[in-house]
Amino acid sequence: MFFTLIFTVLFYAAIIIFVGGLAFKIRQYWQTPAPLKIPTTPAPVTQSGVIYRMLKEVTIFESLFRSNKWIWLFGWCFHMGLFLVFARHLRYVVDWSWVALIQPFGIYAGFLMIFGLSGLLARRFLVERIRYISSPSDYLMLILLIAIAGSGLLMKFAFHTSVIDVIDFVHGLLSFGFHILPPDFLLYMHLLMVVGLMIIFPFSKLLHAPGVFFSPTRNQIDNPREKYHVAPWAAKLGSDKE
């Protein structure tokens, strides 16, 4: 009961910080003007072209692929693994048929995640250039994600947790009715780390997730000659046409 209470409070707090913090940052990005047209060219000349460019960036990591095949391989495996694992975890919240359908893929995606993360971590230690630019938080972030994925896989393959009970706990959280969280050390650790990840998300480099969509070099249409573009603060300068 004690741990149920703790995790209930933690989850509510984490959700508020995660959603609130992210909303604050997204609002900040949205409201900060981009005074000049700076797409990295060649760039699309239409809005649909920009959507296609962005889609390629966030699904196949196009620029990264051009840049470095190893980072791409590890980074892409991690993110795709994370995506599938996340989708698999939807079963704790909803009861949709496609979620049931992807369950088997979700399991192996956990291994894909760990493969990718380990590769990224190894590069951080082994490649001199990347070691040079790494701070403690850069290592810890990867270790945290590996630990989350690892504890999850352990619960699947070694020390089973009662999925039904966890589903009940989550439904309890969502409906403000409380259900006991099964007493399980691995589960506690897993959830604690996930809560931690949610809390640091809006304060860390994890902001690259919303950030990429606001990157002017990637999201601007290449049409400066055709369309007049000026930021509100810059327009004020223009009152004196010299």
Partner: protein, 511 residues
Amino acid sequence: MAKVEIEVPECPEYPIIPRLKEGMMAHSKPYIAVEKFQHELGFPGELPENWQEAALDKMQDLLGKYRSFQVYLDSCVKCGACTDKCHYFLGTADPKNMPVARQDLLRKVYRRYFTLAGKYFPKLVGAVDLTKDVLDDWYSYYHQCSQCRRCSVFCPYGIDTAEISMAAREILASVGMGQKYCNEIIGKVFKIGNNLGLPEPALKDTLEGLEEDIFDETNVAVRLPLDEKGADILLITPSADFFAEPHVDGLMGYAKVFHESGVSWTISSYASEGANFGMFIGSYENMRRVAMRIRKAAEDLGVKRIMFGECGHAWRVGYSFLNTLAGPFDFLDPNYPVPQHICEFTYDLIQKDKLVFDKSENDEHVVTFHDSCNVARATRMGPKPGGQFTIPRAILKTVCNNYVDMDADTIHDATFCCGGGGGLLTDDLMEIRVKGAMPRMTALKKIVDEDKVTTLVAICAICKSQFIKTLPYYGMQMYMMHSLHQLVSSALVMQRLTEPADDSESESSDD
């Protein structure tokens, strides 16, 4: 030409990433702008007492004004994709010349003062206080970035170090640490109209001299008009085109193309400069002031179109920013984009079969084209993306029989900067310029050896000036360097020999 003694990096046979040599270029820094040059641009003359506060205030101000600055400081995950992409890193091995490390110089301070993590756990996230040492490091390493945007091409989030380095330079200038070279030049533009400080009478003389040169060579009275009201086209070109070699041969090339096209054109003594150094120092205000001169010149002269000559940074400010800074240009002819590039103009005439060439005039050349960084990654030519690559090459292939490209990963949007862009084309930065040229020189040397390339063509005044200096350091001839319209000019067969309208015009303005 006197060569400064510099340890020139060796050109590797295949691309290698150097081992890190910390502090290799920590000594490199340009002269600081003296009080007079700072004041002319609205910056303080020296480091104020409360410089730290002032610098952080400026950073806060920029964070609210530039989405790029805010998003890019937050979004980097330190993946390392950019670490081997900067020509200055490849040429110097100094780790602070890796794009991410260069950004981090500022990002560490941003984290310390503007993020929760950096305020409470500075060691954990690598946040540092803004000390004088940090400020000096900024001054040194943000003047080892040519704002060429190669890193931004390869970054998974498109983080553009140029944006960070422009912001850093603006912060530096706002605490009295402006760069002499750039700020002095911008002051000259405000006073005289061009970077060189070439006044109207001297400019007039120069242009008349060029008219004579062309007449001696071709027997055709080709004009280079100055301040001619009612001309169709206002040509904005880098002032280096008025006197430097091979720039000036390019200018004569534009004049001949204009002559053949039959369109009237003029240069303005008030806006006799294409390159807008306001961009280099990251100052929107100063960039705008320079750009407004072009608008005023266009209005005063009553032209219908604005066209830019061969200049990479000019074309970025022209193509991408001019409309924003000095537009909208609704008083110009709406049938043409504002502005146009001289290459777009020449290419269009070629497409319409209006120019006659004798390609064999250029048979002594085996030509390659260097994509200038700002043209390649920050602009376009023609209606289609990538026109900035295809149009200059199409022109070259029309006027030359022998054309060879450098390696695919060193051209188009992966091109290497010449090493002198972004406000670094000054003698006090010669070492970083020579070392930064290494990747481009390596790719060039390869086709000089393998394909007997004799001629390097660029459409940027900075590239041309920089290569003339650096080619000899890498065992190549400075005479390899050519302007694109220089080759156009050699092959152009003048058809409009006696055009009555032209003759009368030239007579009336000659007195």
